[in-house]
């Protein structure tokens, strides 16, 4: 027992003689610490997918961070190269399962560019409606999850209520909640169900109410603002250099939206504005997403009011399946159906790059066809990939707690980043 107190050379023992410890004792000494390496993920609730973040910490400050991706790699490109063009659609769903229709339509749009095909107007309207519905679900999940991880469970539940309502409408339209595989080369495979537009109007009204609730719970919430404002900041120059697009880039103050810059389908007919932030921090990314949802609601309403009647897919049996009475009633119909299903669409040899504005930014497709009915190359420019690549730049030197809101608001989607 006595031995344990004889560490002091002068015989000073604070336990027995009651005096204060002399200067320079263990209590005043600088706490020896070394950098600690911790692992976040691959299955961490805050990583939204399967990303492994190797973080080197000095206390609570991040010294170095190395995102390791690939746990969700499914061989998207290799799979697409071995199936027909239409069979690629289910693979594109799984790139981003919260906005599957945007991936479907973006891919189809690129294939149509490669063929040189213009799709019917009604199909273009349906594509706009579907895309904007899925932009809503994607943003609702992102904003809701951000609130959840900042400690507010209620905004998440409001977001989920709106998301589920929209996904019910999506189910009525496409037959699937998440993996829609909707649309075909040359148009859309099924028309809007009867009475669907009224249901969507009701859903949008309710979504607006829920957005007001979420806004009230988050936008002026002290805890939320403290954790998101001035955290995860990136300058516009850096964001451009990394290749950021979408809401994350707009939050830096760059007014860039492919729906305005290169209007595709019928986007130029709708009246909507592009939400632009200022500071490039987590709070601005949140605000941009909130405003984009309001604009999406407005676009869907305008589209439902002005959608014209007419065909929903091109009348060309080399591209679109013939109507069922033709398939069951005529030999030409059977043959065309058989050839399309067995051999696929014979996309002429060539290449093209085309991009659409998906929920998280520019979704680009570089397609190469060798004319044999299957894609020769399907390159996808996932908007989340450059965003995740910039995370070390944003977060190094900041606190570990800033990593969580940053990872939330950049909304990196494992499915598309890891292909």
């Amino acid at each position: 027992m006595a031995d344990s107190h004889t560490f002091d050379a002068k015989g000073h023992n604070p336990d027995t003689d009651g005096s204060l410890p002399p200067e320079g004792s263990e209590l005043e000494a600088h706490l020896q610490s070394k950098h600690m390496v911790i692992n976040m993920g691959p299955s961490h609730p805050a990583t939204h997918g399967t990303v492994r973040l190797k973080v080197e910490l000095d206390g609570e400050t991040i010294v170095k961070i190395d995102p390791e991706i690939g746990f969700l790699h499914r061989g998207f490109q290799k799979s697409c190269e071995n199936v027909t063009w239409t069979q690629c659609l289910p693979y594109t769903d799984r790139l981003n399962y919260l906005s599957a229709m945007m991936n479907n339509f973006g891919f189809l749009n690129a294939v149509e560019k490669l063929i040189g095909l213009e799709i019917p107007e009604r199909a273009q309207y349906i594509r706009v409606i579907g895309s904007e519905l899925h932009r809503l679900t994607d943003h609702l999940t992102c904003v809701g999850a951000t609130g959840l991880e900042m400690g507010g469970f209620a905004p998440f539940l409001y977001g989920m209520e709106a998301r589920e309502l929209i996904q019910d409408r999506v189910t009525e339209l496409t037959g699937a909640r998440l993996t829609t595989s909707f649309g075909r080369v040359g148009g859309i495979n099924r028309d809007l169900p009867e009475g669907w537009a009224d249901k969507v109007h009701k859903t949008l009204t309710r979504t607006e109410e829920l957005l007001v609730e979420m806004d009230g719970l988050l936008t002026r919430n002290r805890i939320f603002v403290d954790r998101t404002k001035n955290t995860g900041v990136i300058s516009a120059e850096d964001a451009i250099d990394y290749g950021w697009t979408g809401p994350a880039l707009r939050a830096c103050g760059i007014d860039h939206d492919l729906r305005k810059a290169h209007p595709y389908w019928v986007y130029e007919r709708f009246n909507f504005s592009v939400a632009v932030g200022e500071h490039g921090d987590n709070y601005d990314r949140y605000l941009v997403r909130m405003e984009e949802m309001r604009q999406s609601i407005s676009i869907i309403r305008q589209a439902l009011e002005t959608i014209p009647a007419g065909p929903i897919i091109v009348d060309d049996w080399r591209i679109a399946l013939p109507p069922k009475p033709e398939v069951y009633g005529t030999i030409e119909g059977v043959m065309a159906h058989f050839k399309l299903v067995m051999e696929g669409i014979q996309v002429p040899p060539g290449e093209c790059y085309d991009a659409t504005e998906a929920s998280n930014g520019e979704l680009g497709w570089y397609l190469v066809s060798d004319g044999r009915g299957r894609p020769y190359k399907v390159h996808v420019r996932a908007p989340g990939f450059p965003v995740l690549a910039a995370v070390p730049h944003i977060i190094e030197g900041k606190m570990l707690a800033d990593l969580i809101p940053t990872f939330d608001t950049i909304n990196m989607i494992g499915g598309e980043v890891e292909q």
């Binding site: 991706i69 290749g243 080399r318 093209c352 990939f385």
Partner: protein, 199 residues
Amino acid sequence: MTPPFWAPYKAADSSPSVIGSPLSTFALDRVSAHFPEAVVERYVDRAGGAWAVIHPDSLPKVAAFLKNDAELEFKLFGSIDGVDRLHLAESDPRFEVVYFLYSFKRHEHVRLKVRVSEHQPVIPSLATLYRGANWWERLTFDFYGIRFEGHPDLRRILLYDEFQGHPLRKDYALRDRQPLIPERPIKDIFRGPGTSGHS
């Protein structure tokens, strides 16, 4: 139903002008004027996009020109990917690497392409010019085995370090599997029993 469905779809059946006028060639014209020796080939694809095939050695200076020229300012980094031309009609040299950049000033993409042979698949890296190129070059290296000279950290990004070969090369079999943990033989009613490839 207007066109005969049994005939193959020919390129002449549709013209790119259906979609819209051909995209601008302004940027590539400027590149050609400044670096005539760097541009190997120019063409327009089916969707109206203008392409320039760049000599590998000239890529950094062409990219720097596109980024910094006051009239172009292609500052937004798009993406990089490779193409293995093994089964295409024109397959020599074997690999192509495609580059997409975007300019807020010109409001358009620029499409560049570099061709390298199978024996020496080396291209100068753009990672110091565009920080965004870093990960895309790692991806292209991972998928095709194309090396980017001067890249600060060229290692696999999606696949694991123990992986042999490059999966998007056309001579890599679709079902060639390389599990880190040996797979148990599973009776697959569609593809037959057992694993295939490396197991």
